[in-house]
Each structure stands twice: as structure tokens, then as C-alpha cells.
């Protein structure tokens, strides 16, 4: 419990935007706090994201989206190297499903070139078949964007937060902001876990960024939640090498076939405006639309290979573009809001802009000589050669205990994830993939829960899927016996 802390910057929201901003600010001699409503960072729009690092040909020249997307894309290889995050620059192919769509590819190539996207070219028949043998025979040409890639978005947010914390940023989790009070020289940000007195606020609250803005009477933008469903295939199914886009329609980039940076194939997303910001439901209708669309691109994909599905909600702003600017209320408040696609790609560039805006508003950015941008490397046991695996076990026997058999995740990796900040079953799953494979935790979940219980010193009944209220086992054996019958529960 924090009583009242004096600080330089409070970042509200620990998505990929907030965490990368925090990591950027941790380069400087500043007191920075990040407040997050959930138990861990990266659980909003970040988590259920397609994970595409866009090349930047989709967005209108001159838009914030186009600018930050192309800049962000260029920052990715080095950023993911420093933070040791899964990233594959596998390239993007926007596919023409009929000869009539070929001129559209040319329009996007021209638009991309205007945006400064390097290496764009259109590939035809033979070359396209060679690049992607499983594409439908009706596809005759595609726009190839070699700088496009895929990243594990949750991993990126968690890694950025971890690196920021290592460089002095404080994380206040499970702390939804309830009120913001004006002070002479700043604000007091109030949360159930304490109040933070700060000179500057960065509003990176994603879906709730307009709600946060209203707390200081800023009505300059509104967020419309737009849901996207995604369906994930077993790793044994590898049908594409590039991320496959159709030619977009008026409202969305369309439904994609994505070879994820972790080695699965994922299809989606839908793009449906929804009433509730927490509507993360998947639907029969969503599945049908995704599958019908994908079937036109890759006919051999069969629903029988699907291992899980999920949905996320995008934070689309009423401006139709990113809101990366000072609040009209005060230059001491910077909005990083309305970050829908290509927000993940843009995030590293937005973080730089965030620092620049704060500096212009009067925050002294004095480089901290102790800053280290390189995260302690993560061991991914399953990717290592046998000799290295053998050496690891010799050094630390808990590498010899496989907990998740589907993804070959060791006990040592899970313990490490908890030491790096995982607090929940999902937090472990998203960091090290225990439970992310074909059995979806059927075998390893009880083991992961035991490790969480042991490492965090909490009972098994307090181990949650994703924070308070999502406990997975509710009672001790025999606790219910004699306590109730079906009749008196119902009545």
C-alpha cells in the first residue's frame, strides 16, 4: 500500500504503449510510476492482438498512423533484440483474389512508397506460388512488403515493463485510477492502492483512455470499442510463410492468415463495433466469417486444427487516427490514445514521441548513466540444441523437469517467469507458453498452479487465471460436503 508518493511522471495503463513509454522514460533520471488496473501488464488490447508488425502501406500518407507505423517498424529489430522478444521479419503479402484486384495492389504500393516503406514490390504467379505454395489458385498477384513481421505482443509488453522496472520505474498493478486531482504544479492520481503526486501524466489507458480524460474534464476524444476474434491452430499446421492479407475493404484490413512468431498459424481478426469495452467473447458468427474469408486465401486450412480462440477489443478513437498529443486541458498531460492498428507497430515510435512531448512541456530529460536497455536473456529451452539443453540441466536441474509437454516448457523457465513478474496462470502462459499448446493446459495447469502457489507463497485456492475473481479452484476437498445440497443452492 502506497500512501502518497511524489513522482515526476505517472503513466496510466500498462499495455504495449504504456510499458514501452515507461521503458523509454527509464533512460532518464526521473521518478516514473506506471499504474495498471489489471494484475499484470499487457492484458488489454495488447494481449489479444494479431501481433503484426506492419510495413506501413495500409495507412493514408500524412496520417499519424502512417508516420508512426513506418518509424516503429524500423525500430523493431533492435528493440526485440534488446528486450529478447520473439520477432520474425517474415514479410507481408497482400494478395489479389482476382485479376480485378491487381490495380488495387498498385495503389497500395504507391501509397506505401509515399509513406517511406522500403522494398515494396508486386509478385506474380510463379514467384507467388514459390513463396506461398498453399495459396488458393485464384490468387494471381500480391504486394510483398519484406519489412513486415510478427511479434508476440504480450511478451513485448511484459519485457518492456521488466526492463523499465530494472531501470527504476515503479509498477503499481491492480490499481485502477479512480480520480485525478489538479494541484498547483501537477496532479494527484488516486488509486485504491495509494495516491501518486505527479508533475506529468501519460494517458496510455487504451480502451479506457477517454474515461481517464474525463477525470480531468477533457472531452477532446472518444473511444469506440471494436472487437476482433482470432483463432489459433496447432503448431503442426504450417501453411504459410508470410503474413497473408487480402485486399482491404472500406472499414478494415481484412482477415489475415498469420504465421505467429511462436510458430502457430492464427486467423482473424473480425472488426465489430461492440457496446461493452469488456466484450471479449468469441462467437459462432465471428468464426464463420473468419473461416469463410480465410478459405478463399488458403483452402487447405481445416477447422479441425484449431486449438483455441480469443477476442480482444481495439481502442478506436473518433478521430479515425491516433491521438498523440497534449491534452487541451494541460500540457502536463500527454495522450497516447486511440491506438488501434497499426498501434503495436507504432508503439516504439510513439514511446519516443512521448518523451519528446514531455521534454517540450518542461520535463528535464537527463540521461541516466546506469540505464541498461538489454533485458536479461530468457532461456527458451525447446529452441536449444541437445548439447545446450544438457548443459542447462547440469547447471540447474529444474531444466530437467518438463512441466508443459506440448510446448516443452521446463520448471526452471516457469520459476524464472514468476521471478520476472508473472503472478497468474495466464501471466505464466503468455511469458513462457506453458498451457498455450494443443492440450491447452489440460495436463500442466495443475502443475503450473502448484509452482505459482509455492513461489508466491499463496494457497492454491488463491491462484488465479488473470487476477482476483478468476480463481481456478475454489474449495478444499471435503469443504462442501454436508454444507449444501442442490435444492438449497437453487432456492
Amino acid at each position: 500500500m502506497v500512501k502518497q508518493i511524489q513522482t515526476d511522471v505517472v503513466i496510466i495503463g500498462g499495455g504495449v504503449i504504456g510499458t514501452l513509454a515507461a521503458r523509454e522514460l527509464s533512460r532518464y533520471k526521473l521518478d516514473v510510476w506506471l499504474v495498471e488496473k489489471d494484475a499484470e501488464v499487457g492484458w488489454g488490447a495488447t494481449k489479444a492482438n494479431s501481433g503484426i508488425v506492419h510495413a506501413g502501406f495500409h495507412d493514408k500518407p500524412g496520417s499519424e498512423k502512417a508516420k508512426y507505423c513506418v518509424e516503429g517498424n524500423a525500430l523493431y529489430p533492435e528493440l526485440c533484440d534488446e528486450l529478447d522478444v520473439s520477432f520474425e521479419q517474415n514479410g507481408i503479402l497482400m494478395v489479389a483474389r482476382s485479376p480485378e484486384e491487381i490495380p488495387v495492389l498498385e495503389q497500395y504500393r504507391a501509397q506505401g512508397q509515399k509513406n517511406g516503406v522500403p522494398g515494396l514490390r508486386i509478385v506474380y504467379q510463379d514467384e507467388l506460388r514459390e513463396l506461398e505454395p498453399n495459396l488458393s489458385a485464384s490468387t494471381t498477384a500480391a504486394l510483398l512488403a519484406p519489412t513486415g513481421g510478427t511479434v508476440a505482443p504480450f511478451e513485448l509488453a511484459a519485457a518492456a515493463m521488466e526492463n523499465a522496472v530494472d531501470n527504476g520505474v515503479q509498477l503499481l498493478a491492480e490499481s485502477p485510477v479512480e480520480a485525478i486531482q489538479r494541484e498547483d504544479d501537477g496532479f494527484i492520481v488516486m488509486t485504491p492502492n495509494g495516491n501518486l503526486k505527479t508533475r506529468f501524466i501519460v494517458n496510455a489507458a487504451g480502451l479506457h483512455s477517454d474515461t481517464i480524460a474525463r477525470l480531468f474534464n477533457d472531452t477532446s476524444f472518444t473511444i469506440t470499442p471494436r472487437k476482433g476474434e482470432e483463432y489459433l491452430f496447432d503448431k503442426s499446421i504450417r501453411v504459410v510463410n508470410h503474413t497473408i492479407f487480402p485486399v482491404p475493404n472500406a472499414v478494415s484490413k481484412g482477415i489475415l492468415v498469420i504465421p505467429t512468431s511462436e510458430g502457430n498459424v492464427m486467423i482473424g481478426p473480425t472488426g465489430d463495433n461492440v457496446d461493452a469495452r469488456d466484450d471479449m467473447t468469441t462467437t459462432q458468427d465471428g468464426f464463420k466469417r473468419i473461416f469463410d474469408s480465410v478459405h478463399e486465401l488458403v483452402p487447405s486450412l481445416s477447422p479441425s486444427g484449431i486449438i483455441t480462440q480469443f477476442a480482444g477489443v481495439r481502442a478506436a478513437s473518433d478521430r479515425g487516427d491516433f491521438v498523440i498529443d497534449y491534452s487541451p486541458v494541460s500540457k502536463q498531460i500527454v495522450h497516447l490514445a486511440g491506438i488501434e492498428s497499426p498501434g503495436l507497430t507504432a508503439a516504439p515510435a510513439i514511446a519516443l514521441q512521448c518523451a519528446a512531448l514531455l521534454k517540450e512541456a518542461g520535463l528535464d530529460l537527463v540521461p541516466d548513466p546506469t540505464f541498461c536497455g538489454r533485458r536479461r536473456p530468457v532461456v527458451r529451452f525447446h529452441r536449444l540444441p541437445r548439447t545446450e539443453q544438457a548443459a542447462l540441466i547440469e547447471h540447474n536441474p529444474s531444466f530437467g523437469k518438463i512441466v508443459c509437454r506440448c510446448e516443452t516448457v521446463t520448471e526452471a523457465e516457469i520459476v524464472d517467469a514468476i521471478q520476472r513478474g508473472a503472478r497468474t496462470i495466464d501471466g505464466v502462459k503468455f511469458r513462457v507458453r506453458a498451457g498455450a499448446g494443443r492440450c491447452q493446459g489440460g495436463f500442466c495447469q495443475p502443475l503450473v498452479m502448484q509452482i505459482l502457489s509455492r513461489e508466491l507463497g499463496i494457497p492454491l485456492t488463491a491462484v488465479t487465471k488473470r487476477g482476483g475473481g478468476s480463481e481456478q479452484v475454489l474449495y478444499q476437498a471435503k469443504e462442501l460436503v454436508g454444507r449444501q445440497t442442490r435444492e438449497n443452492i437453487i432456492s
Partner: protein, 419 residues
Amino acid sequence: MKTLSADVLVIGGGPAGLSAALAAKQKGAKRVAILERNEELGGILQQCIHHGFGIHRFREELTGPEYAQRFIDELASSGIDVYLETMVLELTDKRVVYAINKDHGMLCFEAGAVVLAMGCRERTRGALRIPGHRPAGVMTAGAAQRFVNIEGYVPGQRVVILGSGDIGLIMARRFTLEGAAVEAVVEVLPYAAGLTRNVVQCLHDFDIPLHLSATVVEIHGRDRVEAVTIADVDAAWKPVPRTERTIPCDTLLLSVGLIPENELSVQAGIELDPITNGPLIDHTLMTSLPGVFACGNVLHVHDLVDFVSEEAETAGTNAAAWTDAQATQSRRIITVKAGESVRYVLPQYVSPEKTAKLYMRVTQPETNVTINIGGLFSLKQKSVRPSEMIQVKLTPKVLSRLDSDSLTVAVEREVENVG
């Protein structure tokens, strides 16, 4: 890295692996080893604390752990090497097995013969694509069984079970005995998927409602399950509009099928049967990779462990007798095919000179049918059910009457003699 050799290397120490290893040893294999990923032998039997195991084999009703213990006791004095908490990472097409554990680190086994006995896993929510939220409290029946029987925790107090497979039925009773209320068991088929005795003893005896031809169409609750909506389905398993009803609950268990765990087999290049999801085998239970045998639930999902033990003994016996020389022998092969109303028949290949046992399942429950074994002979059955495996012995004498290279097994209906 430590390199070891074994005449017969058994992957998996559940009921199949135990029987295979014991049989191999008894048939004279010198060095037999079992690699088991869990802390103890016995596999999933250890969490099956209900009784009903061993009726065929031991003529008595044992619990799962008791059944397993009979084999574990026998193993103690057998000279079989047991590696616990040992995970196999890879099986190569040269029968080299890489495995790890905490004590020995990386182990490399060069095996004469290999017996695959890795068992199966449960089908998940994701594979069914049940719409709705993704809260805590949705789990497979087997995971719940582990929580209750091994860990000592009860996941929730109001339970809906999707699927009437045996584990689901057993867990309906188990939750009831733990003081939880099982609100409904929901089955997409027009009949219960599990064994009849489990329907009677686990549902009827406890007044637990069974909803046939129905499924879960939505899961409610953002953090923890709050309710599920179920609906009737048509013959194509599509939900029927306006039949939806919502059942408040805090837990949804899934008992919707088992999938043989053949990732290692596939990695080694072993061919699988798309229906059983297990390896294609011959009458010796040998897979398409010479010297590699398969038995138990990794081969096809069984209903009774007694038959797993029996099948595994065949695999272990043949593994012990196998030599490299056999790999190059050519011989006449008869292909066994599933015909009308037969879901699958194992083995897929038999030899005309050898006795083979056929294992088969029908596609739907029926009464008074005849099972025609390739025109060689017929088997009258009063009642057949997909949940109950049918076994038939084929002898060389019978097979000698076959003048084809294939044999089709089919269900034939008797014409009802009315009056």
C-alpha cells in the same frame, strides 16, 4: 550426454507401458526400460480412485491405483529399469530416444525395439470452439479429476458437464460426493457416450439430469464461469434456434473425447490413421517404423483398462522378439478395412500366416446386428455401442479362406421377423 542402450524401450509407464515392459521381460528381452514423465508409475489410473477396474483380468473390482499397483509390484522384482519424471523429447527413425530428467540430465537411448505407450489427452474447449467468454472454471474432466483426487481441491460447487464420456460421468458422481451440485450433463449425441454402467451408477443413482442431443452454445462470466447456455441440436449437431436455456454454474467440465498423443510418433515419421489418430499397425502391433510398436490409448482410445493390459502384452511380446532382420522380410499382407457402420478396425494390416486379434468400434448403437468379418464368418451381437470395443480373433486357418488382399468388416442388420 549419457548414452544408454535397451533391447526394449517403453515410452510411458501407464497401464500400457507397464504391461508391455513386463511382457517383454518375460519373453526374454534382457534390458527393458520404462521412461515415465510423472513422479510415479501407473499413469492416469492413479487419479481414477473409483472402482470398476480389473473385472475381466482379475475377476474382481479394483480401484485405478489398486489395478496399477498389481503391475508395479510385479515390476519391482523384474529387473526392468524405470526412469521417473523423465520426459522424452525426441524419437528418431533410427530408434534413438532423447529424454531428460533432473537427476541424469540428457539421456540418449539406443533401442532395439521401442514400445509407444504415451496414452492420450483430452479434447479441449478450443477444439470445440464453444463461444462466449474465457473465464476460470472451464476445464477438462480429467484435469478436474486430478484437482479433486490428487491435489485435494474442488474446482467449484455448481457444475455443468459437457459430454457424457466416461471421465465426465465419473466426475459427475465425484463432484456430487464432494458436496457440489451437478446441474446437468449435456451430450450432443442422442445417446450417452460412456459405458452403460457409468450412466447408471454415476448419473441415474444420483438423479443427475442428462440432456441428450444438446450442447453448450455460450459460456458466461468474464473472470469466473457464471452460467452456460445450452441448446438442443439437430441431426447435424447444429444448435436449434429458440431451444436455448441458461444454467447458472461456476464450473464447466468438458468430457468430449480423447486424442492419442502421437507427437513423438509423427516426429519419427510414423504414419497415423486419420480415424483413430493412432499409428497404423500390423498384427504384431508394429507401426510403419520397423521395430516401433504401439499399444494402449496412444494406439486407439480404449474403454476398459483390462484390454489395454492385454493389448500391451502383445506389443511387449512382439517387441522382445523383434530383430532388425525382420525389417527386410517381405510377406503377404492383408489390409483390414472398416465397412458399413464400423468406425474403425485395428490392426490395419494382418498376415495370412499369423493369428491376429481385431479391435473395432461401431459408429452408432444398434441391437440385433451381425458383424461380417470379410465374408469369412459372422458375429451375432444383441447390442453394439460405440463406447464398447468389440474384439475378434482371426486365425491363419480362417484367413486361408480369404482370396483377396483386403478384408472388410461391416455391420449387417437382421431383417426383423415380425410375428
